[in-house]
Symmetry: C2
Subunit: 300 residues, 2 copies
């Protein structure tokens, strides 16, 4: 779910928890403050383009958009949580110009001014307001508390489920494979463990397909979604072929054959897949640990 918005001087939503949904924040552009509080650890991070935050169930969280041109991509598992947005929205709008967001200063009824009635109604959507939670404002250089590692050292993914975590763009674990022709660098956001085997998420940076290696056809049990972050991706799904550019998304139902390749020297896509044996896990089988966001100068 992509959400565009200008900055706000107040929280984008009342602090709350989800009892059943795992929420994943990916910063597509602009700057967003994200807070996550669980297990007596209250953390805040300033997300810039490419950064990620994991908010598992029963984590008190909220966020605030800080730039005039901010876009988040939210992955919320299991499916169905989008019903909340249909409930909160005024109408199923469709503008002639397809503007990313209405250019106007609007108050958000889901924000800090929510009424008691709405707060109560939201519980049926798995949104439980945490009215006693005050997000810490002692950010220094992108983190609260100060001096947390953030864009100045490795970001790590917990080895257990349930703990909130943040990954700075390019600072997380990286794995390289050339098994399928093109170089592919997998940067996991959500592992089978932290996704509780319901979903995984990562970015894949890929080179062009070398001319002498035929493009593999994939057919995965579970659903796959790809969103282009950089460059462009030519995708064949069943009998359809499309070239996706920045921001475009392809959804591939489980059991459907598909192929993909970069149409640029280097492209980067975000992967989200159901289950714990999706495209990322297939690529990781042949991958080795890698220190860089760029691929080698030579072919595999």
């Amino acid at each position: 779910m992509g959400t565009n918005s200008p900055y706000s001087s107040s929280l984008g939503v009342l602090p709350h928890i989800h009892e059943r949904h795992h929420e994943n924040f990916f910063s597509f552009k602009g700057r967003t403050q994200l807070w996550a509080d669980k297990y007596n650890d209250s953390e805040g991070r300033l997300l810039t383009a490419g950064d990620y935050g994991s908010v598992p169930t029963n984590t008190t969280h909220t966020f605030q958009l800080l730039d005039p041109d901010t876009e988040l991509v939210g992955v919320i598992v299991p499916g169905g949580f989008e019903d909340l947005f249909y409930f909160l929205g005024n109408a199923n709008v469709s503008y002639a110009t397809q503007t990313p967001f209405v250019p106007a200063d609007v108050s958000d009824s889901a924000g800090s001014g929510s009424s008691a009635t709405i707060i109560s109604e939201l519980e049926s959507f798995d949104v439980y307001a945490q009215l006693s939670f005050t997000p810490r404002r002692d950010f220094v250089n992108g983190t609260a508390p100060a001096n947390a590692t953030w864009h100045d050292g490795s970001s790590t993914i917990p080895s257990v489920a349930g703990t909130p975590y943040f990954l700075a763009s390019g600072w997380g674990p990286k794995y390289l494979t050339g098994k399928y022709g093109a170089w592919q660098i997998v940067q996991p956001f959500v592992t089978p463990t932290t996704g509780e085997h319901d979903f995984t998420q990562c970015t894949i940076t890929l080179s062009r397909q070398p001319a002498n290696v035929s493009l593999p056809s994939w057919n995965l049990t579970d659903h796959t979604a790809l969103q282009v972050l950089e460059g462009g991706l030519k995708v064949e799904v069943g009998n359809e072929t499309a070239t996706l550019i920045g921001g475009d998304v392809v959804f591939i139902p489980g059991g459907t054959a598909f192929k993909y390749q970069s149409v640029a020297a280097s492209s980067k896509v975000m992967y989200v897949g159901a289950g714990d044996a999706g495209l990322d896990q297939q690529l990781l089988k042949s991958a080795r640990s890698w220190e860089y966001v760029s691929f080698p100068t030579y072919w595999p």
Copy 2:
């Protein structure tokens, strides 16, 4: 000039000035610290994607790349400064995989370890080392000195030439025109004044072309360059048509007819043009001041 690189624990280049060249830093991705010192004012900013820094002549400046996946787009006026990079480069390399940068930790001979011989040679390229300059390290929340306005209020462009300045993405001046069919939002980086009538630079955010308005053909006296930042741009130059995606560049010599349109609901391009009567200035003639990075819901 696009430059990709991983992070470095030291300055990317010795502090220096240019006596004849105006250097412009645009942050394409990742994070970069940029310092500019002139007129007894020493400023540093943390640039994230979309931010811009202007370094006019006789400004002591340097920079440091902070993220594993950092890319800058440099505009250096007048032309010819690229000879420095040919001098510093080891070879005119061409890698089979077209990797954005060689995945290796390399030291930069233009960096703080430069020899006296190289420092002397660089002067013939209009690079004058300022060995007594120590960049301030007292950054707090993206600025040095602390508490400068940066991503938390308007960025402004000086009304006179020669002064260094920084513009946070989306926080600078914005102007909207619908005169040519599509909505276009111009966000200036360099005005005729600050570019000393040699060049101007801006971003243009544009909607699709409405079906009932024919696409205008432009023919400008001076050279034009466009780089796609978001979405995609279909460009016709002379008899050629191409669709540009993120990172792609088109250069249009002065006196050449061209047309352009967005192939996405919203696209954003960076414009650089010679002189002081380029595309940006033509668009601004019919534009009004605008508060948003998105365009209206209705057609002009």
